[in-house]
């Protein structure tokens, strides 16, 4: 993050402004990625008029960075109408997330003309037999890479997103090399998110500990391996006053149905823009304010963990395990693999006899969380979302 953006983020935090929002325009998709956490049916997407109204409200609320994602955004027939409205009329900084298989020269030129900041495209492998086996769409790698070239030729900033799974783990160096050859950025993400209905079976697709250890010790990815894998020193009191992440503080997520959540990976219902103004949900939702109240010192278990200040703990994943103030086992595992030191959560489970050797344990997941329809009245407590 640039220094100025950090400064503006601090200012937004102080003024309680949602600086950044991800808006999923649809959950429909033309790929069927094996690890995807979404159900791809349309359960009543917002109309064009509803989305424009929401965009107006978000601009009024001070939203600056608008990430349009899905599902596949180009499946919305009104996509360019919405994009033009967001850019030309409301002047959002717009980022797109797409599989890009519907982007040809004409679409790339239009995206460039509308001044989109960046386009993130999922590429799972440089090999069609691997990529297409993940998307379940034959020919999808070729189409996505063609799109990368069309967008790049327009001078657009393109980011290749490489989600790591058992199926494609060995291919990430070649994907990075391909991105470099195409002149685009590349990000790696080893996180597999549970399905939105709470089903955790997709987590089995995630890379194993040995593979993740290899990633964490790849100097071309992490820089100084020794420093990256070091155990953090004991945090002081000031560090424990820090926020767990930006979710609900300067950013949030809106689903195609108008539901507002702290983050795309944090499915705690806080309100619906069809029933309540966006800014009122942001400022006054009990659930959003509950999320906002949490500091590192408030985390059960994690506060006493040696990884507390360096862990990538995701409050959304913790929420999906049943307690947004609790640990996220996936991140515990990452911290352990990175440093070799078991997390406080892993040790507690071991003591309780719930786990095995922390180095080999498959971490238990006590309860599942379902996304439920919002109750008629605005504002939902955290407990209300737990099935």
């Amino acid at each position: 993050m640039s220094g100025l953006l950090e400064e503006m983020t601090r200012k937004a935090l102080k003024a309680n402004v949602p600086l950044s929002v991800q808006l999923d325009l649809t959950y429909r998709c033309n790929e069927r990625c094996v690890h995807c956490y979404l159900d791809h049916d349309d359960h009543g997407e917002m109309t064009t008029a509803e989305i424009k109204h929401l965009l107006n409200e978000m601009a009024e609320a001070g939203v600056f960075i608008l990430t349009l994602s899905g599902g596949e955004i180009f499946l919305r027939k009104d996509f360019f109408e919405l994009l033009e409205y967001a850019r030309r009329t409301l002047m959002f900084c717009v980022k797109l997330k797409t599989n890009a298989i519907m982007i040809r020269e004409r679409e790339a030129a239009r995206i460039r003309d509308l001044g989109v900041e960046s386009v993130q495209i999922s590429i799972y492998s440089h090999r069609p037999e691997v990529h297409d086996a993940i998307t379940l769409v034959p020919g999808s790698l070729k189409r996505s890479l063609d799109a990368v070239r069309f967008l790049k030729s327009q001078g657009l900033r393109v980011i290749v997103a490489n989600v790591l799974m058992t199926q494609n783990m060995q291919d990430y160096p070649a994907v990075r090399a391909l991105a470099a050859e195409l002149g685009v950025e590349c990000t790696l993400d080893p996180t597999i998110t549970p399905m939105m209905d709470g089903d955790r079976s997709v987590l089995g697709l995630g890379v194993d500990q040995n593979a993740l250890r290899q990633v964490f010790r790849d100097a071309s990815l992490v820089g100084d391996v020794e420093e990256y894998c070091a155990v953090s020193t004991n945090p002081d009191e000031d560090a424990l006053e820090n926020l767990p992440c930006s979710a609900g503080h300067t950013s949030c997520y809106v689903s195609p149905y108008g539901d507002v959540y702290p983050c795309v990976q944090f499915p705690l219902p806080t309100g619906n823009v069809r029933k309540r103004r966006f800014i009122d949900i942001w400022r006054h939702s009990d659930a959003m304010n509950d999320v906002r109240s949490i500091r590192l010192k408030d985390l059960t278990t994690c506060t006493s963990c040696s990884h507390v200040t360096s862990c990538t703990r995701c409050p959304g994943l913790a929420f999906l395990e049943g307690n947004m103030r609790g640990p996220s086992s996936q991140d515990c595992e990452k911290s352990f693999i990175r440093t070799g030191v078991p997390s406080a959560n892993m040790l507690a489970k071991k003591r309780a006899g719930a786990g095995q050797n922390p180095g080999q344990a498959h971490l238990g997941h006590p309860s599942l969380v379902q996304i439920r329809v919002l109750p008629p009245s605005a504002g939902t407590s955290a407990a209300g979302a737990i099935a």
């Binding site: 640039s2 100025l4 003024a15 009329t89 717009v94």
Partner: protein, 105 residues
């Protein structure tokens, strides 16, 4: 003396945060923040109002400053903003597809 016209570049992103205008360049995603004078200039840059009128009606109303000095400073500022592709400047009016964009927020 020819008049100068200024127009917001439609390729930038812009938002007012707590009274301060954030602008992201459409050229290289560089982030800028505008001071109060530059914010007034940005908000007034509709492509059809000459810079001297913006200075007279907006900037001199806001600040206690001599019009000639204010115009000189505003021209310098406008050229600097144009060098970052934040606004466009011309000695002719600049047609805008959506002149109200970015004005209010």
């Amino acid at each position: 003396m020819s008049r100068l016209y200024v127009a917001r570049n439609p390729r930038v992103a812009a938002r007012s945060l707590d009274g301060e205008m954030m602008i992201m360049s459409g050229r290289d995603s560089t982030l800028f923040t505008l001071n109060k004078t530059a914010t007034i200039l940005w908000q007034s840059a509709d492509g059809t109002t000459p810079l001297d009128e913006i200075v007279e009606h907006r900037i001199c109303q806001e600040f206690e400053v001599e019009p000639a000095e204010a115009l000189h400073d505003a021209e310098t500022l406008a050229r600097e903003l144009a060098s970052h592709d934040i606004i466009q400047i011309s000695e002719e009016p600049i047609p805008q597809r959506n002149p109200a964009a970015g004005e209010a927020r």
